[in-house]
């Protein structure tokens, strides 16, 4: 439906970051695209996004593809109950969720297992799966089936109260030994999973706040990019957005 091409020049033996659109004239605009909805609220509409790079004098150098869902996920802490309330595409949603650790304790993971596991959750009328901090950062295949069947995902990082500072006796009060390694893994995991429409919430850990430096770094890395920090008026229009 939409194809856009831009010219880029990349210096020798170097790495650059490039953003579509570069200007208001080069925006990927969609009029009323089919939105992605969680299980029970509507269809899980997905679009194929393909990015390719052609090098002059060579041809196609690389290609990347991902299924993408147009959806907006918002949440806030309800002052009356202290619970987190979610809205999807502007609609409030009653979360019916299940705890999750892994598909198999010996990591005998497969698309077939994930398909069965996630579909089972959808058939049970769940709309959220919470990945516990003592387990895995789940794999792209897990998220693919959550995208397909409409299961929102709450993904925790690898911190638990029992092991990281709230056990009896207290152990690892400062979390893992190597905080830089933790952040490297966290950042790489975010990059691996961030394009899945089902990914709804990152949480620092299970029943425990990560060590202060890790928590601060995670909150900073995962905050909304300044490009998207627009104030919305009553109609939901951006005050400083694209015309």
């Amino acid at each position: 439906e939409h194809l856009q091409t831009q010219r880029v020049s990349i210096p020798a033996e170097s790495r650059v970051q490039y953003t579509f659109p570069q200007s208001a004239n080069w925006q990927l605009f969609f009029y009323k695209p089919n939105l992605w909805w969680p299980n029970g609220m509507g269809k899980q509409s997905l679009y194929n996004v393909v990015i390719t790079v052609d090098v002059k004098g060579y041809g196609e150098s690389d290609s990347w593809g991902h299924l993408f869902g147009f959806r907006k996920i918002e949440s806030h802490i309800d002052s009356a109950t202290g619970g987190r309330l979610f809205k999807i595409n502007g609609e409030p949603i009653f979360i019916r969720g299940g705890n999750w650790i892994l598909s198999d304790g010996l990591l005998r993971l497969s698309k077939k297992r994930y398909s069965a596991d996630i579909k089972f959750h959808a058939d049970m009328n769940f709309n959220m799966i919470r990945c516990w901090g003592g387990g895995l950062a789940e794999r792209p295949e897990f998220y693919y089936y959550c995208d397909l069947y409409g299961l929102l995902v709450w993904q925790e990082f690898w911190i638990t109260g029992d092991v990281d500072g709230r056990g009896d006796p207290v152990s690892n009060p400062d979390g893992p030994l190597d905080h830089d390694l933790f952040m490297l893994c966290a950042r790489d995991t975010v990059k691996l999973l961030r394009n899945h429409p089902s990914l709804a919430l990152w949480v620092g850990g299970n029943e425990q706040i990560p060590p202060e430096d890790i928590n601060t770094a995670l909150k900073n890395d995962l905050k909304l990019h300044p490009l998207f920090q627009n104030v919305l008026n009553e109609n939901g229009d951006s005050a400083t957005g694209f015309s």
């Binding site: 439906e1 856009q4 091409t5 831009q6 010219r7 880029v8 990349i10 210096p11 033996e13 170097s14 790495r15 970051q17 579509f20 659109p21 990927l28 969609f30 009029y31 009323k32 679009y47 194929n48 996004v49 990015i51 390719t52 052609d54 090098v55 002059k56 060579y58 196609e60 150098s61 690389d62 290609s63 147009f70 959806r71 907006k72 595409n89 502007g90 304790g105 010996l106 990591l107 005998r108 993971l109 690898w158 638990t160 029992d162 092991v163 990281d164 152990s171 893992p176 030994l177 190597d178 490297l184 995991t189 990059k191 691996l192 961030r194 394009n195 109609n235 939901g236 957005g241 694209f242």
Partner: protein, 263 residues
């Protein structure tokens, strides 16, 4: 010339306990490639998978999820880390043209590893939840078979399990960046190898001089979801020795029924 893109290395993997292999990684991937046999320590491996998964597959140990079989499998705390340090071996083909690059990718390894390709050594640093990408363009054989051996080490702090069990055993595993349930919890007995292994996909990836890295897609919504924009950011790496002029294309399509595509 090889086509660009990913090829998973899913079959033909062998594994052996490191203490039973008297060869170096360089020897395994040059003069002395392994083979199975009655007196060979090499068995069919679960890749992606774990050491314990490989041992269960080959019936070297019973399946720990049945009965009390887990009690018959020696825990890493008693055996030592070396007992669950394993070699994994496979071969793969590559046919690259002059401007092509080949990456060997490990989407996740638990917990660290040494990689040998055709006699050359590379290290996969620690961490269970990180991707590893090795540029092996200058190491692979231009035509023909490449030999790959990976020595996988368990987590640095596998810990030991108190007699009363409990959530995460003695919590030593928390010192590493790895799954914590492997020391046992109120819903699972301890995993004896702490899930050591190449637990996610291994692949080779062919590109031209420019590679796309970790694109990020974000949508913004206006006018009650009638007006929608897609923003895409990506990193690009030019691995050639000259400036390149590129066309960067982004295309969005929907899939209609019956494998038809609207472009």
């Amino acid at each position: 010339m090889a086509g660009i893109g990913k090829t998973k290395l899913v079959s033909g993997w062998l594994a052996a306990r490191s203490t039973e292999v008297n060869l170096t990684g360089t020897q395994l991937t040059t003069t002395n490639p392994p083979s199975k046999g009655p007196r060979s320590p090499w068995i069919d491996a679960e890749v992606p998978g774990t050491v314990l998964g490989t041992l269960v597959k080959n019936k070297v140990v019973p399946d720990p999820f049945y009965g009390l079989e887990n009690e018959t499998i020696i825990d890493i705390a008693h055996s030592g880390r070396e007992y669950y340090t394993f070699w994994f071996f496979t071969t793969f083909q590559s046919e690259l043209s002059g401007s092509q690059h080949l990456d060997l990718n490990f989407r996740a390894v638990n917990y660290s590893a040494e990689v040998y390709i055709n006699g050359h050594k590379k290290v996969l640093p620690k961490g269970m939840f990180r991707r590893h990408s090795l540029d092996v363009t200058d190491i692979v054989h231009p035509e023909g078979q490449n030999l790959l051996a990976v020595l996988v080490h368990p987590p640095d702090h596998p810990g030991s399990i108190p007699s009363q069990g409990g959530q995460g055993g003695d919590h030593e595993i928390g010192k590493d960046v790895a799954t914590q349930y492997v020391e046992g919890w109120d819903w699972i007995a301890p995993i004896r190898d702490r899930n050591t292994g190449i637990w996610d996909e291994v692949s080779i990836y062919v590109t031209g001089p420019v590679k796309i890295i970790d694109p990020h897609l974000v949508s913004t919504f206006f006018d009650n979801y009638k007006r929608v924009y897609l923003h895409a950011t990506t990193e690009l790496i030019n691995r050639s020795a000259w400036v390149v002029d590129c066309s960067l294309n982004i295309q969005v399509t929907t899939e209609l029924e019956g494998n038809m595509c609207l472009v």
